[in-house]
Each structure stands twice: as C-alpha cells, then as structure tokens.
C-alpha cells in the first residue's frame, strides 16, 4: 500500500499504458465538432492519426486504463486477478492533466479510457465519470473521448457517461458464448449485450431529440464499437464474420475490431504456444472482409460458406469471391453498374465513384483507370474498356490465381506474346529460326 502512494505519475503512465496496449480501437473518427470558443479542442469527422508506434498501429488517442486492478480473472488478460503485475490507479486529476498537456502539444486527438474492475463495475465507472466530467466542464475539453463501458454498470450511470463521451464501446471479448464461458468465467454474453442494446436505444432516442431541439446534448455521437479476440478459441472465420454482420445489422455498431490473440498468460485453457506469434494475417483477412461488409455491399454468406469456413491465406476475400464467381466477369467499365464495379478486385469505393462520374464525359481506357487509382495488376483480369481487355488474358480460375499470386508488378504470363525470363549461359534457348544459320 505504501508503495502505491509514492508512485510517480511517470510510473503510473507506464504501468497503465502497458496494461492498455492490447485494446485495439484507437480511432478518433465519427464526430465533427467545432470549438465553441471557450475551451480547447475540436473533432474531425475522418479522425486524425498523430503518430504510429513501432508495431505500425496508429496512436490517435491517449490510450490508458484508469486502473489495472481487477476483480475478474479472464484467462487471456494480462491484468487478471491471479497475475502478479505492478498495479496502479490514476486519480481523475492526473488524467485531466495528462490529457490537457498532451493535447495542447498536439500529441493526441483525445482520450481513450478503459479500466480494470476495481471493487465493482459501478464503483469503477463512477470514478471514470468523475474524470470525464471534470475534463469536459472544468477544463472545457472538446476533443475526442472514447470510453469503455464495463458490463454490469447501472443503466443510469451509462446514460450520464454517454453524454460526455464521443464513442462508447463494450468488449465482446470472444466471438461465441462458449468461448466466453471457457476463458472469461465472470462474464456472460447477456451481460455484454445488455449495455450495447442500451446505448443503441438511447442513441436512437437522442436522434429524435436532436430533430426536435437543435441544441439537445449529443449522446455518443460517434456511435459504439466493440472488439473480439481472434485465435484464442477455435471459432472459424465463417462464424466470426457472421457475428460481425449481426452486430452491424442488429446493434447498429460503427465498427467491430479484431484482435489477434497475443500470448501473455500461461493457462491450460488457452491454445498452446506455437512460436509463430499472433495470427496477424488472419486478423488482416478479417478486417478486409469487414470492409467488404461495410463499404462494398457484400453479405457474410457470400464470402464464406459452411463447407469452406476460413479465408484463403494467399488471396484477399474480394479476389477470392471474384475467382469463385467468374461468370459475372469481365465487367465493362463504361457501362457497368456502380454496385458491380465495387465488386471488381482492384477497384475501391473511391475509384468506383470516380469512374461513374468521369465516364459521363467520355469513354475511359485503362490509362484513365490507372490515374484514378485503380490497381490494374489485380483489376486487369476482370475488366474490359470499350469491349477490350488490357492484355489477352484467359478468364480461367487457375490462370488468374497463378498470376494474382505473382505479387511483383509484371505483365501476365503470355500477354502480348512475350514472356520474361532470366537468360543464362547454359540455357538451350532458340532465338527464333530467322537468326539460325547466322553467326556463332
């Protein structure tokens, strides 16, 4: 106890940052807010990244835990009750000082406050509320605040908190209820979904309040998000993206984040260490699929099937879908519907939008597409411009797969009757019969 009182703010920051780093979301998007001229801070709709850490993840918010003391014992978590790690707690004042001083120097876009559970969910959330209230009122802070809601917190407290924060998130932790039972014995699916539903309903009500009264306070204006751990339990990608789709459709979530499982604890119920590190590629494929759901009008059922429940490691989900649906290709750039353009590998939603606009003014060719940001090395197998393909390629699954996997930028095999090949002295290359009978 004595040790804890003498702990400096620098040490606290180190301990509580270290404990918070496994939280995924660090986005500052979703709110557009101007400063009212009385304080500090504003929010940009698209969010702003302020730095990038050595693991390549963006640092946008001051991501800290309020405390890393916890009454729970979740098997995967570094802060679980049974772990012997240094423990610390911030005071609301310390959080305010750190946030304000970092924000003034433009280090951060706002605050991401999560926490272990100290005594009870309500007790912890009350302290968090005190910190945020002080930050918003005394310091007039108008930057971004993302706060984690701890399952089991009272409804009334969550509602008050929602008016201070821009985004709220409840961790789903694991994709299925069985996984949760196995690894997080103190948490249940129902207790996690309850606050999510509450926030969703309150946001809906708030939307109507705002229509009536223009100056009504905003409740969680940047929406809510969640995260789940990938690879700690044996779920398939098929199950995971179905869960994500359900969350988007039924709970109106803004984002679902996936977190590749990192071994921090030794426990019999966790998967054995493989020495390969966290499943980063799998996480990447899930994010790609997640974008297809949100921006590209794909359904989870189109991307994976029960017989084929995991993503192809070698190909991204969109290419994978295209190869299994070759009957819709090639697509004619100058006439195809926007929805169909979106489904072409190598065309993103931005370039699809540009194509639709630009083709009103004249026929587009492959050169124009390149300038608009289309990735031709992927798109060329699926597109025609005015009825012509870029190279004489075959619409055939094996052929396209082989070429797509050839990651370096080069012409497809056999295009234009030319192939590239490293010459070697010992090759028996016939340099065309025309040259025969010449020198040598």
């Amino acid at each position: 106890m004595e040790l804890q009182q003498s702990i400096s703010i620098a040490d606290k920051l180190k301990i509580l940052t270290d404990a918070a780093k496994y939280d995924v979301a660090c986005t500052s998007s979703g709110t557009q807010r101007s400063n009212d001229g009385t304080g500090i801070g504003s929010c940009a709709q698209a969010g702003i990244c302020h730095s990038f850490s050595a693991d390549g993840r963006c640092i946008s918010l001051l991501k800290i835990l309020f405390t890393n003391e916890c009454i729970y014992d979740c098997k995967y978590c570094i802060n679980r009750r049974s772990n012997d790690v240094p423990r610390a707690s911030f005071t609301p004042d310390e959080i305010c000082t750190l946030t304000m001083e970092f924000y003034r120097r433009n280090y951060i876009e706002g605050l991401f406050l999560s926490s272990g559970v100290l005594k009870s969910p309500d007790y912890t959330m009350d302290l968090i509320y005190a910190a945020l209230y002080k930050l918003r009122t005394t310091y007039r802070f108008q930057g971004y605040i993302h706060v984690k809601a701890i399952p089991g917190t009272s409804q009334e407290l969550l509602e008050r908190l929602g008016f201070l924060a821009d985004r709220m998130s409840v961790n789903l932790e694991l994709p299925t209820a069985e996984g949760l039972r196995l690894l997080a014995p103190h948490k249940t699916r129902e207790r996690i979904l309850a606050p999510m539903r509450l926030v969703q309903n309150r946001m809906e009500e708030n939307r109507q309040e705002i229509q009536l009264y223009r100056n009504a306070q905003r409740f969680v204006p940047a929406g809510q998000s969640t995260q789940m751990i990938i690879g700690a339990t044996p779920e398939t990608d098929f199950q995971i993206i179905h869960v994500a789709e359900a969350l988007y459709k039924k709970f109106g979530l803004k984002r679902v984040f996936y977190s590749a499982f990192v071994h921090v604890n030794e426990d019999a119920s966790l998967p054995a260490r493989t020495g390969e590190g966290p499943p980063l590629l799998r996480e990447h494929r899930l994010y790609q699929a997640d974008f297809l759901l949100r921006y590209y009008q794909f359904q989870a059922g189109e991307l994976l099937t029960e017989e084929n429940p995991n993503f192809n490691i070698f190909l991204d989900p969109k290419c994978n879908w295209a190869l299994r649906n070759l009957d819709v290709f090639p697509v004619e750039v100058n006439t195809a519907r926007y929805e169909l353009l979106l489904r072409v590998p190598g065309i993103g939603y931005k370039s699809a939008g540009r194509i639709v606009k630009a083709r009103r003014y004249g026929k587009l060719d492959f050169g124009d597409l390149k300038k608009m940001g289309v990735v031709l090395k992927r798109a060329l197998y699926f597109l025609t411009c005015s009825g012509k393909m870029m190279y004489p390629v075959k619409i055939e699954e094996d052929y396209i797969t082989r070429n797509l996997l050839n990651v370096k930028e080069r012409l497809p095999e056999g295009a234009g009757g030319m192939t590239f090949r490293q010459l070697s002295l010992f090759d028996d290359v016939r340099f065309g019969s025309a040259a025969e009978g010449g020198v040598i």
Binding site: S51, G56, R57, S60, E101
Partner: protein
C-alpha cells in the same frame, strides 16, 4: 506565338497570371503560366513577367467561386500551394477547359482531361500532406507559454494548418514555422491567424525558441515513454510504421528525436 506569363510562387502571383492570360483571351495551348525561378525556356515563345497584384487575384477568385463553385476553388487553391512547377499551366488549362463543358461546376469530375487530372493530383497531394501534418505537428511550450512548432513540408501547407489549429486552440498563443520557406503562421489568443514571411529574424529567433518552459522537458519524456510502451512487441513491424509515418516527418517529432 505562345505567350508565357511568369509569376511569383504564391496564390496571388498565380491568380494574377491567370488574370492576365484571361484578359488576353488566348486560345488553349497558346498561353501558359510559369513560376519564377523555374522557367525552362522554349522556342517560339514570348515571355511576359507579371507583377502580383491583390486586386487581380481577387477578381480571379471571385470568378472561380462564382462560376465554378466552392469545391473547384478548393482544388485549385490546393493545387496552387503545390511545389510542382507545372501547377500554373494545369490551373490555367483547367479553367479554360471549364468554359467548354455544359456544367462547368463539375469540371473536377472530368478526369479524362490532362490539366484537370493534374490539378486533381496536385490538390490531392497537398491535401494529404496537410492532413498528415495536422497530426504530426508537435508543439513545444516556450518559457513565455507560447506553443511553437517546426515543420519541413514539401508543399506550402501552412495556410491549411492555420485554419485547423485556430479551430482547435482558439485561446492559445501558438506559432508554426515552415523551415523550408522561412514562413510562419502566428496565432494570438482569441484572434485570427496570420501568415508572416520573415527571413532576417532567424538568428535572434532561434535563441528565443530554444528556451523552453519548466514543464516541457517532463512532458516530452512522458510522451516518449508512452509511445514506446504502447507498442506490442509481438507485433512489431517497422515497415508498416514507415508507410504510415514516413521518415521525413520524424526529425520534427518529439517521440522520434533523441
């Protein structure tokens, strides 16, 4: 014979040249704009130096805003801030092309036109750099409480940053220096930001800028510690970090120096 108008490298300069070219009513291709100091002489060209003049620039600004709208003006303004030598030519080409289509306000959608495409590309590059810098600018608190930051951008993005930080820190005194161009954007609490070009200030200024407040060192240390701690060792990926945060920004960023 083609006439090329030579102007200074500023919004006012380029817009003045556009004004002159417009007034002479040259056909497309028969006139061009070049930036002073980066003129590559061509044969069969007449060169004419243009003095930058506020009233001419304003007339062009009104003309663009009135006929082509806010959106197109935004693209042209950003393109004019680019470091590219061809920007004047591209802007003039875009404006001339806009006269020929039925809905001039949609000229920026006409990406098949090389000039429009160029303006779009330049504006996107400037916008991207400005956006990145809204995050990467690092202020230091000086002895007298002023927040000061150095940047070394490729394009002239100070004006874009001025608006952003005025919105964000209306009650702070702050100042950003573009080291490549010896330009400053200065903001006084509660006022509007101003753009200042000052070269001879250098020697005196540097000494004053190195006197930091008592707290500053401590805060920088905390921030560095935070950045080191937040990274997950098992996921380390310097290449990914470099694509998001190119090395050229790092010399001015607190967490990467020392």
């Amino acid at each position: 014979m083609k006439t090329i108008y030579i102007c200074t490298d500023s919004i006012t300069g380029i817009f003045s040249a556009v004004y002159e070219a417009w007034k002479d009513r040259r056909r497309e291709g028969a006139s061009g704009i070049a930036i002073q100091g980066s003129v590559e002489p061509e044969l069969f060209c007449e060169y004419r130096e243009i003095l930058e003049k506020e009233s001419k620039a304003e007339a062009v600004e009104r003309m663009i805003l009135g006929n082509l709208g806010q959106d197109v003006y935004h693209h042209i303004y950003y393109a004019a801030l680019s470091r590219d030598d061809q920007k004047g030519e591209a802007i003039l080409g875009t404006l001339l092309a806009a006269r020929k289509i039925r809905q001039p306000r949609k000229i920026m959608e006409h990406l098949g036109n090389p000039s429009v495409e160029k303006v779009f590309e330049l504006s996107r590059a400037v916008g991207n750099e400005a956006h990145l810098l809204t995050g990467f600018v690092r202020f230091q608190e000086l002895e007298n409480g002023i927040l000061f930051a150095d940047i070394t951008p490729k394009n002239q993005v100070l004006t874009c940053l001025g608006a952003h930080f005025q919105e964000r820190f209306p009650l702070e005194n702050w100042m950003i220096r573009d080291k490549n161009r010896d330009m400053f954007v200065v903001h006084e609490s509660g006022r509007r930001w101003v753009l200042v070009q000052e070269e001879d200030m250098e020697g005196r200024l540097d000494a004053r800028l190195s006197r930091l407040s008592d707290q500053e060192e401590e805060m920088q240390k905390l921030w560095r510690e935070f950045c080191n701690t937040i990274s997950i060792k098992e996921r380390e990926n310097p290449k990914c970090q470099r694509t998001h945060l190119p090395l050229r920004y790092r010399p001015n960023m607190t967490e990467f120096v020392r």
